[in-house]
Amino acid sequence: MKRRRLLALTSIAGLALTAGACGDSAPAQTSGPVTITVNNMPPETEALQRKNFLADVAEFEKLHTDITIDPKEGKMDPATFSARLAGGQLENAFYVYFTDPAGLIARKQAADITPYLKEFPSVSQIKPNLLDVFGDGKGRTFGLPEGNYTMGLVYNRALFQKAGLDPDKPPATWDEVRDYAKKIAALGGGVNGYGDYSKNNTGGWHFTAEMYTRGGDVAARGADGKWTAAFNNDTGRAVLQQLHDMRFADKSMGERQLLEWADLLQQMGAGKLGMYLATADNIPTIVAQYKGKAEDYGFGPVPGGQGTLGGGGGYMFSPKSTPAQVKAAMAWVLFRHANPDRIEFGKQRDAADKQPVGLPEPNIFTGAAGQAYDAASKKYANVPTQNFAPFVAAQASIPLKLEPPDAQKIYAILDPMMAAALTKPDADVTKLLADAEKQVNAILATVQQ
C-alpha cells in the first residue's frame, strides 16, 4: 500500500564504513562497463533524503567502477507500469509493494533473478518468508525485499487522557476498541473515536488486517492446494458488524466515510481521531506532513492479537534488462537496502540527520544481521520509544500473516463491502459477505497453484 515513504528512503541507508565492509556489494560479476537505471530516488523537495541517496550512488560507483547508475524518481506505479515497460522506459531495478510481485510474475513482467542469487551470499541473511513474496512457488525468485511492516494500533495519547483513558494501555480487544471509541467521540468537536478505510482498495486491505487480528483469514489453501475465500463466517460478520455498529449505533466513527490512506493520517495529525489500524511509520508522517505532535502518538498491538498483517516493499528487475544489468541492479539493491554491513552506519546517519530511529518495526534480516539491526535501532533511537512499549511488549506473541494471493483484486472486491457497512444504515452484513465471497472465489480459482 501507499506507505513507508519517508522511512523506506532513509532507514536502511548508510555509507560503508570501509571499502572492505561492503558485503555482497563486492564486485558484481558483470562483464565490462554497464549502466543501469534505478528508481526510488527521493525528489528535490526531500533534500536530505536525496542527498543521502546520491551519496550512496557515488559510494557504490566508487566500489563498482564498471557500473554507472542513472537514478530516477518515483516508484512502480500500476497505472503506468505496463506502458513504461513496453516503451523501454522501465528502470532496471524498480520499487514494488508486497502486493505487486505475484501479478508481475504471473504476467512475466519481471526478470527471473534465480541464476544470479548464488553470487550474492548475503541474501541468505534475509528472512526467507520475505524472499518468498518474490517467488513463484516453484523455486524461482524475481525480486529482493527492502523493508517490511506489521500492523498495530496508532492512537492519540492526548485524546485518551482527555477521555479519561490510560494512554499507556491501548485497547487489547475489539470490545475495548468500541468502548474507547465511544468515550473519545463523546469529547465532541468533530473528534472521531475510531477510523477506517473503504475506498480504492484500502478498505479491503484493512478488512483483511482486521480478520487476521481476530484469528480469521481472507483466503485459505485447502489440502488440494486450491485457494478459496475464508471470510464468510462469524469472524467476518464480527468485523463488519462492529464497524457498522460503531458508525451508526455509537456514532463514534464520524459521518465522513469512503476514506483512503492519507485521510486518516490527516485526521490524526489534526487531533480529530482517536485510533486506527496502521504501521508504526505512519507516526513520523503524521508529525512531519500533517503537523501532529510526536509525543501525542502511541502505538499498540492490534486489538484481538490473534494475527497481524505483514507487508512491505522491495525491488524487482526489468525483464528487458541484460543479465549484466540485472546483476548490477541486484548489487545496487543489496548494497543500499539489504546490506548487513551498513546497518550500524545507516542508523547512525539517520540519527545524525534527525530522521526517526527506533520505531518498532520488524527488520528484513534474520540471525546475526537481525540482531545487529535491533541493537543499532536501540542504540540510536531518537523517537519516544516509551510510547511504543505496548506494541513491543505484545508483538512477539502475535503471529505475522502475509497478504492473500492476488491481494489487490481481492481488496477491490472487499472495498464495497466495507463501504456498505460504513455508509448504509440498513446494511445486511451477511449478504455483503456472501456476495463478496462468490466474487473472491472467482478470482482465487484463477490463482496459479
Binding site: 505496463s82 506502458a83 479491503g204 489487490q408 483484486k409 477491490a412
Partner: protein
C-alpha cells in the same frame, strides 16, 4: 487506329498529370502531413485497440490471440452491467440537469442588460478550472461532517444529506459536480446562438402581444432547435465517458457509482492489469458512441443540405 494516334493522347494525358501534380504538390504535402498525424495518433491506436481486445498482452512477450475470451470475460463480470446501468443513470440525470440548465441560463443572460460581462465570466469560470480540481473542491462541499453544504443546511435548520456517501444520492451528487463544471461552455454556445437570432422576430412577436414566456416558447426555442439537438448529442457522447467525478469522489472500487470509463481504468491500471479486457470494453463503448456520432453527422448533413 495507328500507333501514332495512340501515343499522342497518352503524351498529352501524361503531361497534364505532371502539370496537375506540380500545381498540387504543396496541397499533397499538407494532405500527407495531416494523414500521417491522423494515422499515427488516431487510426493506429484505434486499430491497435481493436486487435488488443482479441489478445492477451503483457507488453513484454508476444501477444497471444484469445479470440472472444476478453468479450466473454467482460459479459461474465457482474460489474459490466453495473457500470452500464450507472453510466445510463448518470447520462439520464445529466440530461435532466446538465442539459436544461445551460439553456435557461443562456436565455437569462441574454435578457440581462447590466453586469453582462460579469455574469458571463462567472458562468464560464468553472470551465477554466482543471476537472480534477473541481472534483476535489466539491469533495470538500460534500463532506458530510464539516462540508459546506451540510453546514449551510444545518444553519438553515434543514435535514442534512450524505451526498456522495449514500447510494441514494451519490449519482445525483456526481451529476451536480459535472453540471457545474461544464455548463459554462454550453451556456456560451447557446448565448452565441441567441445573439445571432434576428431581432425582427422578437419585435414582430411583441407587436402581436406575445409576453416573455410566449416569446421564449414561440420564438427562442424553435430558433435554437438545431443547436439544442447538436448539444444533446454532444452531451450524451461526453457524459457516457464520465470518469473524473466518480474516480475522485467515490473511487474505482465503488459499485454504486462505477461507470464504463472507471471500469476500463480499473481493468487496465488499477486492479486487473488486463489490457485486453479493458480494450474489449473500450471497443464496445466505441461502437455505441459511433452510433451517436452517425446520428449526429446525419442530422448536421440534413441541416446543411
Amino acid at each position: 487506329m495507328t500507333a501514332a494516334t495512340l501515343v499522342a493522347p497518352l503524351r498529352l494525358r501524361a503531361g497534364g498529370f505532371r502539370r496537375r501534380l506540380g500545381d498540387n504538390l504543396m496541397a499533397y504535402g499538407f494532405l500527407a502531413a495531416g494523414l500521417l498525424c491522423f494515422a499515427l495518433f488516431s487510426w493506429y491506436p484505434l486499430v491497435r485497440s481493436i486487435t488488443l481486445s482479441f489478445q492477451q498482452d503483457n507488453l513484454v512477450t508476444d501477444p497471444q490471440w484469445v479470440g472472444l475470451d476478453n468479450y466473454r470475460a467482460l459479459f461474465a463480470d457482474p460489474l459490466f452491467l453495473t457500470a452500464i446501468r450507472n453510466t445510463a443513470e448518470f447520462t439520464g440525470l445529466a440530461l435532466i440537469f446538465g442539459y436544461a440548465v445551460p439553456i435557461g441560463l443562456a436565455i437569462l443572460l441574454n435578457e440581462l442588460r447590466h453586469f453582462t460581462t460579469y455574469f458571463r465570466l462567472a458562468v464560464y469560470l468553472p470551465v477554466m478550472l482543471p476537472p480534477i480540481v473541481s472534483a476535489m473542491l466539491w469533495q470538500f462541499f460534500y463532506d458530510p461532517g464539516q462540508g459546506l453544504f451540510n453546514t449551510l443546511l444545518h444553519g438553515a435548520h434543514l435535514p442534512e444529506s450524505q451526498w456522495v456517501q449514500s447510494p441514494r444520492t451519490a449519482m445525483l451528487s456526481l451529476v451536480l459536480v459535472s453540471t457545474w463544471a461544464n455548463l459554462g461552455g454550453s451556456t456560451l454556445m447557446y448565448l452565441a446562438a441567441l445573439q445571432s437570432l434576428p431581432p425582427e422576430l422578437y419585435e414582430a412577436a411583441e407587436l402581436d402581444g406575445a409576453g416573455l414566456w410566449q416569446r421564449i416558447r414561440r420564438v427562442t426555442l424553435p430558433q435554437l432547435r438545431f443547436i439544442m439537438l447538436v448539444m444533446l448529442l454532444l452531451q450524451i457522447t461526453a457524459t457516457m465517458q464520465v470518469f473524473i467525478e466518480p474516480f475522485q469522489l467515490t473511487g474505482f472500487t465503488n459499485p454504486d457509482t462505477i461507470t464504463v470509463m472507471t471500469l476500463i481504468y480499473r481493468y487496465a491500471f488499477a486492479v486487473n492489469q488486463d489490457f485486453g479486457l479493458a480494450a474489449a470494453l473500450s471497443v464496445l463503448l466505441f461502437v455505441v458512441l459511433s452510433a451517436f456520432a452517425a446520428i449526429y453527422l446525419r442530422i448536421t448533413r440534413e441541416r446543411s443540405a
